[in-house]
């Protein structure tokens, strides 16, 4: 009886271990396949666009860049280059919008940070993060250089490591004493990365951030043309999109004042 149980137990441990390792492999294969999904056409378009940019034909460059987006793919560098093209064409709002989109993909890129700061200085729309709460500021300080994908990936890897450690802890009572500290540390790291993931996800996807892409937009009290203007929004300003109704968007300024603007005046990041 005992022999049979032991055998079953070891078989189960083996199966669990194998499946966890397979899961880890699946994660990395998935990421690598996602990252290496190379198609020749987007590359060709990208380099053609770069050539047009070098020839100072910014409109043509932008056409090619946007043609890549139309294929349903995106990259941080692509948004960065589109932002540059917009800036060269004097369309500050669009440039800032594209830089912000790029920031969600390559937040660590110093060139992007410099160009975004420069564009914001031109638009006089400094986003100093003063409207963020403490949690977001803390998460921003820890994970500011990483995008949501990277934070979730880190959390996932930590989670799987934690599962493995806890699995060993459960399966082998003799190893449990040695594993307490590693499990505690990994659990702390996992919780931090999980918190970072949730906050960043909330900021990126739940709070709908937008950029004013037209010059001096009148923000109204009501979604009616003849309504009283509440305040004027500068091109490139940050807003939060609260709702959309027909041709109007309800937005909130960083100081919390809400109002209605024409739908095409603000674009979501």
């Amino acid at each position: 009886m005992l022999k049979n149980d032991k055998q079953k137990y070891y078989n189960l441990v083996k199966i669990c271990g194998g499946l966890i390792i397979l899961s880890l492999c699946a994660v990395f294969i998935y990421f690598s396949s996602e990252a290496q999904e190379k198609k020749p056409e987007p590359y060709q378009l990208f380099y053609t666009a770069n050539h047009s940019y070098e020839s100072k034909d910014y409109l043509k460059a932008m056409e090619n860049y946007i043609a890549i987006l139309d294929q349903g793919i995106e990259s941080g560098n692509l948004y960065y280059n589109i932002g540059n093209s917009f800036l060269k064409l004097g369309r500050l709002g669009h440039a800032i919008l594209c830089y912000e989109k790029a920031r969600r993909l390559i937040p660590h890129d110093s060139d992007l940070r410099a160009n975004l700061a420069y564009a914001r200085s031109l638009a006089e729309s400094v986003n100093d993060g003063s409207s963020e709460n403490i949690l977001m500021k803390v998460v921003g300080a820890i994970f500011g250089s990483y995008n949501l994908r990277e934070i979730i990936l880190a959390a996932t890897v930590l989670y799987l490591i934690l599962i493995i450690l806890v699995g060993i802890f459960v399966a082998n009572p003799f190893a449990s004493r040695r594993l307490k500290i590693p499990i505690f540390l990994v659990a702390i790291l996992f919780l931090i990365s999980l918190l970072g993931s949730l906050v960043r996800y909330f900021d990126d996807h739940i709070l709908r951030h937008g950029i004013v892409i037209q010059k001096d937009i009148a923000c109204k009290y009501e979604p009616i043309d003849k309504s009283t203007t509440y305040y004027i929004l500068r091109e490139g300003s940050d807003v939060r999109i609260l709702s959309t109704r027909n041709a109007w968007r309800q937005i909130a300024r960083p100081d919390g004042k809400t109002g209605w603007v024409k739908r095409d005046a603000v674009e979501e990041i």
Binding site: S23, N77, A114, R234
Partner: protein, 612 residues
């Protein structure tokens, strides 16, 4: 800049003033040894120098009897001889004698790209005793040895023996060379306590006749300025370089007695027996006295900031017709001669009504320009304020002030939203001020040359089912492992629990076995299985090893557990039926077997309900 000059100087590497005998200038291929006498086991360096090319491959010297020859590597060189630039490549070989004797190296002949190269010959003597290395002549010794004090020297000259503080003082350092090969010339340096840092410009090269002798001159120019009044000594200026000299050692069979130790004496044998060596040399000039005067304090304007020189001030602004909030760029150019290090932006009279940014400063030779952006904040502004620049002119010894402006400016109101009424604006939040360190004149960083990693738009990995599976599967497995482990622990520590679990297992397996046996219609095997099932089930339930269960033990145990006597009776009957059939006392049919199986099931059901 200094690095750049060094590079230029290194290109001009060898400044040569050649004596009556040219140093292999007309030869294309020269062979030399770094020493001509070595002991067994020591190595000498053999150099094969090809002039007029830098692409000559390493020649194969082949086997030389008694010598171990190994190729070390090439080195290329640019040389200036009498103003003529030539290039050369030297292939170095390591030569180690294997026996005592005198070895002749060369003449070597090679053919390359149609050109014939033929070398001189050199001799290497291998001796038994240890050969002391030839002492390197120091620069001073070498000058003394060859009596060359008037052949190469350095001078330091300042245009003004006295100057005001912050006034530029031109300094000239000249290197005079008379018929010598000089290389590796470094930039001059000198003691400069009390003066600004010295940066030399690119040197000029020309010829100058001094005392009847023609010298090649390398002229280094710079400007310094005194930082505080006082009497100072400038210099001595120093220059480090190398001089290519014939080696002052034995030169073969026809040496000193007939040909004195004058490297430029000229001998038909010199070409064969003379080898040139590089001697490091540090030349020093005389020092110069300079008096630094204080800028007068009398009549010194309040806005004097230390600019000393002779300047002009140009002041412009554009555009001069703007709207409120539009930038006006003000250019302030200071031209002239003098010390631009101490020139700061001219003073604007008043910038009230303007938003201002940090000025952009650009310094060129004899010019410093300031670009200041002013943004009118109101339409009441009528002019760009006047600017004042004050400096001290050391030639006229007086302060001068240049006032430019004001420049008239037409400022219009900014365009407003006509149809709407604007209420409650909070400009401080609506238009945050640009960061303080915003650089005017900066521009965007160039586009990325590669697209980076592609992602599917709007489709992140963490939203896919695969990811959910990857995340949830390990958790489920962990929970399974946990439950199994807990059950296993309980089985080991909780006998009641383990008995119940094992009894259930035994009954299930037994009933399944009975069903199988029933189909075979073999009564003996059926009751055998029935007995085992009953024995195992009751044994586990009563916590008695199944092998130890007999009819009496089972009945006794059941009675102790206060089991219904009818059930006890059924159990007894089942045991009896098993015994009678197994041992062949009676024969039973299928119906009886099915009935007994049903009785067993009833017993098990009762026991499970009773939770014995």
């Amino acid at each position: 800049m200094r690095q750049f000059i060094k590079i230029i100087i290194s290109v001009l590497m060898v400044l040569t003033v050649v004596s009556g005998r040219a140093v292999a200038a007309d030869k294309k291929f020269v062979v030399n040894l770094d020493r001509n006498r070595v002991s067994i086991g020591e190595k000498a360096q053999l150099g094969l120098s090809f002039y007029g090319t830098q692409s000559m491959p390493a020649p194969d010297l082949g086997n030389i009897d008694g010598l171990d020859v190994r190729y070390v590597g090439p080195s290329t060189m640019m040389t200036v001889i009498n103003g003529q630039v030539s290039s050369s490549i030297t292939h170095m070989y390591s030569i180690q004698p294997l026996k005592i004797g005198k070895f002749q190296l060369g003449p070597f002949t090679f053919k390359y790209k149609g050109d014939d190269y033929s070398s001189n010959l050199v001799f290497l003597e291998a001796v038994d005793e240890r050969v002391a290395p030839i002492a390197q002549a120091s620069g001073a010794n070498m000058l003394q040895q060859f009596n060359m004090g008037d052949r190469i020297y350095l001078t330091l000259f300042v245009d003004k023996p006295a100057a005001y503080a912050n006034e530029l003082i031109p300094v000239t350092v000249k290197l005079y060379v008379n018929r010598l090969n000089v290389s590796d010339i470094q930039l001059p340096s000198f003691d400069q306590a009390g003066f600004s840092k010295v940066e030399f410009k690119e040197p000029k090269q020309y010829r100058e006749r001094v005392g009847g002798a023609l010298y090649d001159v390398l002229e280094f120019k710079t400007s310094i300025f005194g930082t505080k009044p006082g009497d100072y000594h400038l210099g001595p200026a120093k220059i480090k370089c190398s001089v290519m000299m014939p080696r002052a050692t034995s030169r073969g069979p026809m040496s000193d007695d007939f040909f004195p130790n004058d490297p430029y004496g000229g001998s038909m044998f010199d070409d064969f027996f003379t080898r040139f060596e590089r001697y490091p040399l540090e030349l020093k000039s005389k020092s110069v006295d300079i008096v630094v005067l204080a800028v007068p304090t009398e009549a010194r304007p309040a806005n004097f900031t230390g600019a000393v020189g002779d300047y002009q001030f140009i002041y412009t602004a554009s555009p001069t017709k703007v709207k409120v909030g539009d930038p006006v760029t003000v250019h302030m150019d200071i031209n002239g001669t003098g010390n631009f290090n101490t020139v700061i932006i001219p003073n604007l009279e008043s910038t009230s009504g303007f938003k201002t940014y940090e000025p952009q400063v650009k310094t060129e030779e004899n010019r410093k320009s300031f670009t200041q952006v002013l943004i009118p904040e109101t339409d009441t502004v009528k002019s760009v304020p006047k600017a004042t620049f004050t400096y001290f002119d050391p030639n006229s010894r007086e302060f001068k002030t240049i006032i430019q402006g004001p420049i008239s400016l037409q400022v219009e109101k900014a365009k407003e939203e006509a149809p709407s009424q604007v209420v409650g604006p909070t400009p401080g939040i609506q238009a945050p001020a640009p960061s303080r360190d915003a650089d005017l004149g900066r521009d965007i960083i160039y586009i990325k040359e590669s697209p980076g990693i592609w992602f599917k738009k709007g489709k992140a990995f963490y939203t896919t089912n695969i990811y959910l599976g990857v995340v949830s599967a390990p958790f489920v497995l962990l929970m399974t492992l946990y439950v199994f482990r807990r059950r296993q622990t309980r089985m080991q520590t909780d006998s009641i629990y383990s008995g119940r679990i094992l009894a259930i297992g035994a009954s299930k397996r037994g009933l399944k076995d009975l069903s199988t046996r029933l189909k075979t219609d073999d009564a003996k095997l059926f009751y055998e299985a029935l007995f085992n099932t009953l024995q195992s089930y009751i044994g586990y339930r009563l916590h008695i090893p199944p092998a130890g269960i007999t009819v009496n033990a089972a009945i006794e145990g059941l009675v102790q557990k206060e089991i219904d006597p009818a059930v006890v009776s059924k159990v007894k009957k089942l045991f009896d039926a098993c015994d009678l059939t197994r041992f062949g006392y009676i024969e039973v049919d299928g119906r009886k077997m099915r009935d007994d199986k049903r009785v067993l099931e009833d017993v098990i059901k009762y026991m499970e309900r009773k939770k014995v």
